[in-house]
Amino acid sequence: MPTLRLTGNYFDGVQARAQHVALSVDPHGVVTVSPSTSPSPSTETLTCHVREISISPRLGNTPRHLRFANGALFETGQNDIVDALLEQFPAASDAPDHDRVQAWVHTLERNAWAVCASVAGLVLMVLWFAVYGAPLLARVIAFRLPAEVTTYISRDGLQWLDKSFLQPSTLDAARQQALQDVFAGLLPEDREGLEYRLVFRSSKRIGPNAFALPDATILMTDELVNLAENDGQIAVVLLHEIGHVKNRHMLRQVIQQSGLAALLVTITGDIHGASSMVLALPGVLMQAQYSQAMESEADTYALEHLQQHGLSPSLFAQIMRRLEAWHAHPAADRQPPSTQPDDARQDEGEQASVWQYLSTHPATAERIRRFEQAQEAAPH
């Protein structure tokens, strides 16, 4: 084995002064440090054994550090010679764990296959998490959160909606009470500590719709009540919303989105601004996928509980058709007075229908078909 020779800077660790030195390691591991230029009074020849020196693991092409027992440091850019040195005298077993981890990670970084595998693995992991992982995680967490926590989380939800989108209901008290009675009859046996309640609001912006908030508050718009031809149609919508509550859908949405956001932050690191917004786009797109799956789950709940309340699956198909028709021509059912000029409203309506088409339209037909099939299968 030849004697290895390195040149670099020597720092004594007391002062910032750099001394250009030559460091050589003979086959027995004896290290000699001597000034590489003319001797100065401040440099003695230093001798020790290679085992007494800790050698920093390789990291790209950054300079290597050979640290002596007395805190002095030898810095050199001759990475290949240092690697040869480490090959001849492998790091002692008492080397810090993180140094060994780093050395192993470096072999991965150097290997083109490992790098390609990392890229592929990363893409697969992101896809897996977006499609399966996040929903699974959300399901696991959402069903374990106690009802009190859920209530805390959603305590502002209705207030926020009231402030932003909703006006008080214009339905008269008798009508509201009648629907509350229908709702009370539909509630499941096992409330799981949740306090189900039904509230009515009016909203021209949202139109006929119903939501289930995480704290088991179900919100129905006057527009939907007016759109329905009979209480049976309202009842199936309520069952569908109870299905959302039973499956903790709103909570799961929140958890899924947070999970995806956390994943993106992990990958992008401290990238700020526009690029991180654009990279968050996949999360937004996944939202539509998630909500379709959830609609389907809520439909399943409604289908399974229709019969026990003496309701027909066709009621659901009817109200869905009416909703679809409203979204295709919203202006027809909207009540004047409207402050918007006529054609602008038309424009808005068309944009809304395009968006509907993109996100849920194919699914709507699918959903209607599902209830119709159930109707045919049902005993008359």
Partner: protein, 522 residues
């Protein structure tokens, strides 16, 4: 060998720059076990020979020991042993007075003064004074990292982090930092990052707990949320000191660590008042979010909030300057403190003159654009409405394309203008903080250009988006290379004499800083 040996004298010049005289006297007295008054008497006379007729190794050892306690000394060749020194006799009275220590030879371990650094502005030089030192070498900061090399490190880091559900992120962070620090070099000598992954992991846990406590409190009750805001405000000065202490002490260059004076009382003096004002803003937003109190705030509370906001906006440039001054003036390289150069008036010019000017310029650009293409755009929209009403589809496509193009053009101008404002502010604030920072007789020069930063932002963003994130490492390398290319060290010969004051510290403070996004970019 023995006969023609050269001998050396140790000549004392002065107390080192920025060291506290009294402390140096006390250290000197302790070292040689003499009375403090005697030490003061000896050290008040410059150009004193403290030791004579020493061999090279002993002279160097004395020099190091004395420099470590803050004495500016020189090792002077004195010719052959026994030869008379021209100015001072060989056996100086000083030597006789301090003879006692001879019984206990000094060891070569670095001497660590009780407190790392003491600010003493009397000794610090302003940038102008420092620049007056002729012969300062101009040393540019260099960055040697490459996109491809960092891509390999980055992708393996991200992959292992996801595989270990985030635990590896501490190791990944250390590796990333070490890569960027190691590639940052001055005069061919690299910076190094000293934290270990376990330190980073511990710090991260503390930061997550703090953040979780803060966020969790908002779900419990309004009172708890207000309490969390108050806690954060009251802790913020201490967190600032902890963060910078960790950040700087984990950084080394030439085997000498950077340092930060743990002046928590000073931090409270500088930071607490503006932090309280920011806290008032947070508290009022908490109250308006709570339906129980929203809209029902008594007029006195609303008045207090309004006054606090007014004071905060008027005083913001001043406080930003003072906080930066506090940070820079408490930082040190070894035992050599930094001295901040910018003045509050520079910050006022930036916020009250240049920034509004920039907004006016932007508004003017948009106005000109509106004049030039606005009429055309109006025509297009009128046509569009007509088309819509008549539902004459064939003509519609062309008109719609025009409308989209023009809207797109406005959007682009707006986005680039917005990015320019950000680039301008970042460049200005970075320059204000680091340009002309004096380090003893050396100076840091910094000249980041907003134009070049803007080009970097735009190109990086486009590259990251088009590559679905795979060019993030390339973008980061480009950003680091540009930022460092704007920095120069005008180094005095004294830089070599800077003495290490070694510390071992944990990463708690630093991780807190990373989560709450306090940034120091050096």
């Amino acid at each position: 060998m023995e006969t023609d040996r050269i001998v050396y004298n140790i000549v004392y010049n002065n107390v080192m720059l920025a060291m506290d005289e009294q402390e140096v006297y006390a250290n000197f007295a302790a070292m040689f076990r003499i009375a403090p008054e005697k030490a003061a008497a000896i050290l008040s006379k410059p150009k004193t020979v403290l030791r004579s007729n020493l061999d090279a190794a002993t002279a160097e050892m004395y020099s190091k020991k004395l420099k470590a306690i803050g004495l500016d000394v020189d090792v002077v060749k004195a010719g052959k042993p026994g030869a008379a020194v021209a100015s001072v006799s060989a056996a100086s009275p000083v030597e006789a007075e301090t003879q006692i220590e001879q019984k206990q030879p000094l060891a070569l371990e670095p001497y660590v003064p009780g407190a790392a650094i003491r600010r003493n502005e009397k000794y610090a030089l302003s940038a102008r004074e420092a620049a007056a030192y002729k012969g300062n070498r101009i040393l540019p900061f260099e960055f040697h990292g490459t996109g491809l090399e960092y891509f390999r490190i980055w992708i393996v880091n991200v992959f292992l982090t996801l595989l270990t559900v985030g635990i590896y992120s501490a190791w990944a962070k250390v590796r990333t930092r070490q890569y960027f620090y190691g590639n940052t070099q001055i005069d061919g000598m690299a910076f190094s990052y000293l934290a270990t992954p376990m330190q980073v992991l511990r710090g991260r846990l503390v930061a997550v707990l703090l953040l979780g406590f803060y966020l969790g409190a908002q779900y419990v009750s309004t009172t708890a949320a207000l309490g969390a805001v108050a806690m954060l405000v009251l802790l913020s000065p201490a967190l600032l000191v902890l963060a910078f202490t960790a950040r700087l002490r984990f950084t080394a260059w030439r085997n000498v660590q950077f340092d930060f004076l743990r002046d928590i009382a000073g931090a409270y003096r500088v930071v607490l008042f503006p932090a309280l004002l920011v806290g008032v803003a947070f508290a009022s937003s908490v109250l308006t979010q709570d339906p129980a109190t929203a809209g029902k705030l008594p007029p006195t509370v609303a008045g207090i909030v309004a006054v606090a906001m007014l004071v905060l906006s008027l005083g913001f440039p001043y406080w930003q300057c003072e906080i930066n001054r506090f940070i820079v003036n408490h930082a040190a390289y070894g035992n050599q403190p930094f001295l901040f150069a910018a003045r509050a008036s520079d910050y006022y010019k930036l916020y009250f003159l240049k920034l509004p000017g920039l907004f006016l310029l932007l508004a003017f650009t948009v106005w000109v654009m509106t004049m030039v293409v606005g009429n055309h755009l109006g025509d297009v929209f009128r046509q569009m409405q007509n088309v819509h009403q008549q539902t004459a589809m064939p003509a519609g496509n062309k008109v719609a394309t025009d409308a989209y193009l023009l809207t797109g053009l406005f959007f682009l101008v707006f986005m680039v203008g917005y990015a320019y404002v950000i680039a301008f502010m970042q460049a200005s604030l970075f320059n204000l903080r680091y340009n002309q920072v004096a380090i003893g007789k050396s100076t840091l020069m910094c000249d980041v250009s907003a134009d070049k930063l803007l080009v970097l932002y735009v190109v990086n963003t486009v590259a990251i988006v088009l590559s679905a994130g795979l060019l993030i490492p390339w973008a980061k390398i480009r950003m680091a290379r540009y930022r460092l290319s704007c920095l120069e060290l005008h180094a005095s010969y004294e830089l070599e004499d800077i003495v290490n004051s070694a510390h071992h510290d944990n990463a708690v403070g630093q991780e807190v800083s990373d989560l709450f996004d306090v940034d120091i970019a050096l």
